[in-house]
Amino acid sequence: MTQVSIERRPGAPVFPTGFRWRRRSFLPLMAGAAVLVALAALLPLGFVLWVTVQTGWETASALIFRPRVGELLVNTVLLVVLTVPLCAALAVALAWLTERSDLPGARIWSWLAVAPLAVPAFVHSYAWISLVPGLNGLFAAVLVSTIAYSPLLYLPVSAALRRLDPGLEDAAASLGEPPGRVFLRVVLPQLRLALCGGALLVGLHLLAEYGLFAMIRFDTFTTAIIDQFQSTYNGPAANMMAGVLVVCCLSLLWLDALIRGRTRYARIGPGAARQPRLTRLGRMTLPCLLLPIGFAALSLGVPLLTLGQWLAAGGAAIWKLDEIGPALWQTAVFAIAGGAVTTAAAIPMAWLSVRRPGRLQRVLEACNYVVGSLPGVVVALALVTITVRVALPLYQTAATVLLAYLVMFLPRALIGLRASVAQAPVELEQAAASLGRSPGRALWSVTIRLAAPGAAAGMALVALGIANELTATQMLAPNGTRTLATAFWSYSGEIDYAAAAPYALLMILISLPLTWLLYVQSKRSAGR
């Protein structure tokens, strides 16, 4: 047996020669990458500022303070002010019925309240315009967008309602409050955060949506910018309207922060919340059933009915496989490439925000968040101008489109990734390091592996967004690009509704699994 001498000569180094004591983690590397991503994300905001300065105050004010902009502002404000409360009321009513009452088939109604998300917004208005051809103006805009977007509020509100501690309602009842007032004084205030988050999301969608409003001929800033862009290409008028739109978005964000406040609404105290008691509807069951039935009929029935009609009317002739095949392929390539790029770009930020939270990280995160809430049209306009003026070879290339997707969908990728990085405790990374892995390899073999499901979910969300994206794709994609959304749009623009139907159907089918995933996740997050 060989004896290994561990005796140390005086003065000899503790470690074998050649070993360099490296305490340096790859924090600088990660921080650098995150800063780069944030800078890329800030391009559109910088563009709006730069273009305003360049235009000069006189021209800018002449372009901003004119009746047309005032008209658009009134339209946009009315749209937001009418639609958001309607969506909120609808979402709260549906959530209460499906979560807190003994409504027959509550689970099915709950899924049907989320399912309209699988139908892209512009397909909703396509369905309505073919059902009621005369539909237009503010009323139509409010109707269709309420139907299309209230699931965005239903999801958080129903999850919050499920998480609420029924003990609080018991406490309020024992203090002499009748059920109706318990709902107003105890339940509703606690839904505030969910309502705020959902309402912000709906508001931002209303500001950013193009297809839905263009089809029913309702003018918002987004539709007006694209009209300008298509007629004058890159005039200062469009850029200035983009500036106003950005201000609108930032105001929404500010309003949300203001209402949200700093209050903590989490359940206090240990122990798990008891299952809530379901309210017996009794004789009110039938009238109450009308709400979910009505909503499902308007939000799912109408698209399915009109789509079915067009498909039947078109017959086999509309299934031009030589067109649909390539469109499907291009959509898939864009969605998968965009999803991968965006998720990869989100890794440094997600890692920083979990492992090294601090001021830098907060600033970077705020940048991504604010820019992610900007409409696609602003992002596209910025990238068009920048590529034309600075980097012409990149104009109308796939790279620019992917950059636009990255800027627009980074927050989606970030949310899922951050949550799952947080689930991989730093101790595991340290354990891997103590077993001889370098920091980079420890990150790869432990954290990234554990975060993979969350990353995949985030990537899928991004891919879904891209698959249904219309505005930026239309403005930035290389000539000859035909995704499902742009093909659908050009057919329906030519009033060839039958030919557009297969594309709409495909978009819905692609979105369904992800919508199901969202639904299941919201159920699980509430512990069921």
């Binding site: 018991d170 406490a171 009842a173 024992s174 002499g176 209050t263 903590r264 105290g269 008691r277």
Partner: protein, 352 residues
């Protein structure tokens, strides 16, 4: 006179009978503890009294007024019964002052003074009024919850395991403060708990519940010393249960001849509490009792466990577990004599 009366109260969930024909009378001004392991139905019983559940059968009456008669039940908000839940159930979106004032009408005269007075009653600093519940400790949250429930001057107060979320030290002091306060206010109280020490020290009437039934109701002393069966005996504290032969008020058992509280004759089982056993050195000429040998000593600070094997006993009663002060413990293997102070309790019911 009893303030609250339950008659044959029954509640089923499918095949499970959570509360099974419960009869209970709660005297006005008293403190009653419902003691049972988790799943015994005690919380369901409390929720029936509070009005969050309706019984399938049976009557609940408060001060002669019927609150529930079978499924026809008065809703909770009309009953005027106070409730303090396990975790306090403070409204997280309201300040302490708003929580305490929740049940007071908004335009009630002297509302602010009343809130301050209630806060003082539960011995909290007035500076707390503007805090949020999540800025309070667990004990403070419980006190605010109590003040909130007291605001409406309820005649009956329900406490649902109110101290179980607190640390051991805080638990005893909060319990003392709460029971003193409720006694001073003259409010009849029902507490639900699974902690026997808590029930015995808090209440003047204890009801032991298991599998939906009330097994025995009585004063803490009576329940501790004269339980109906071995199960209740062991639930209320450590018990030494020995087979014995009864004759004329005396029992013959492994520990010799002991006075009992029963005049019956024949074979039965008797119960002793460990603190009744006295250990003496074997060579002490004055000591009576039976000889034994120390098998094991488990040191645990102030009170230590001593396992003694009785030398002259049959196998079934050969080992006794005693609690002794850590000072002057015998050594393992030492010969001792074990004698009994006071009488033993004979379980009623059929003789085994």
């Amino acid at each position: 006179m009893s303030l609250l009366e339950l008659r044959g109260v029954t509640r089923r969930y499918g095949a499970v009978t959570a509360v099974d024909r419960v009869d209970l009378a709660v005297p006005a001004g008293s403190r009653t503890a419902i003691l049972g392991p988790s799943g015994s139905g005690k919380s369901t019983l409390l929720r029936i009294i509070a009005g969050f559940e309706a019984p399938d059968a049976g009557r609940v009456a408060l001060d002669g007024r019927v609150l529930a008669d079978g499924p026809a039940a008065m809703p909770a908000h009309l009953r005027g019964i106070g409730l303090v839940a396990q975790d306090g159930a403070l409204f997280p979106h309201l300040t302490v002052a708003e929580n305490i004032g929740f049940g007071l009408p908004r335009r009630a005269p002297h509302r602010a003074e009343r809130i301050a007075e209630l806060l003082a009653m539960v011995e909290l600093d007035p500076a707390m009024l503007r805090r949020r519940p999540d800025q309070l400790s667990g004990g403070q949250q419980q006190r605010v919850a109590l003040a909130r429930a007291l605001a409406r001057r309820p005649r009956l107060m329900l406490l649902d395991e109110p101290f179980s979320a607190l640390d051991t030290g805080l638990r005893a002091s909060t319990r003392k403060a709460v029971s003193a306060l409720l006694e001073a206010a003259g409010i009849t109280t029902i507490m639900v708990t699974h902690d026997q020490a808590e029930a015995l020290s808090f209440a003047d009437q204890v009801a032991v519940m298991r599998a939906g039934r009330l097994l025995q109701v009585g004063s803490p002393r009576e329940l501790y010393l004269r339980p109906k069966d071995p199960m209740i005996a062991e639930f209320l504290g450590e018990a030494i249960i020995l087979p014995a032969r009864l004759a004329g008020g005396w029992a013959d058992c492994a520990l010799g001849r002991i006075k009992v509280d029963d005049g019956r004759s024949g074979d039965s089982r008797i119960m002793l509490r460990p603190e009744q056993l006295v250990l003496a050195e074997a060579d002490d000429p004055a000591a009576g009792g039976v000889p034994g040998e120390v098998m094991e000593i488990d040191f645990a600070g102030a009170l230590c466990s001593v396992t003694v094997r009785l030398l002259g006993a049959a196998d079934g009663a050969a080992r006794l577990l005693l609690r002794r002060p850590s000072l002057g413990l015998p050594a393992v293997g030492a010969r001792v004599r074990v004698s009994v102070a006071g009488g033993a309790h004979v379980f009623p019911g059929p003789e085994s």
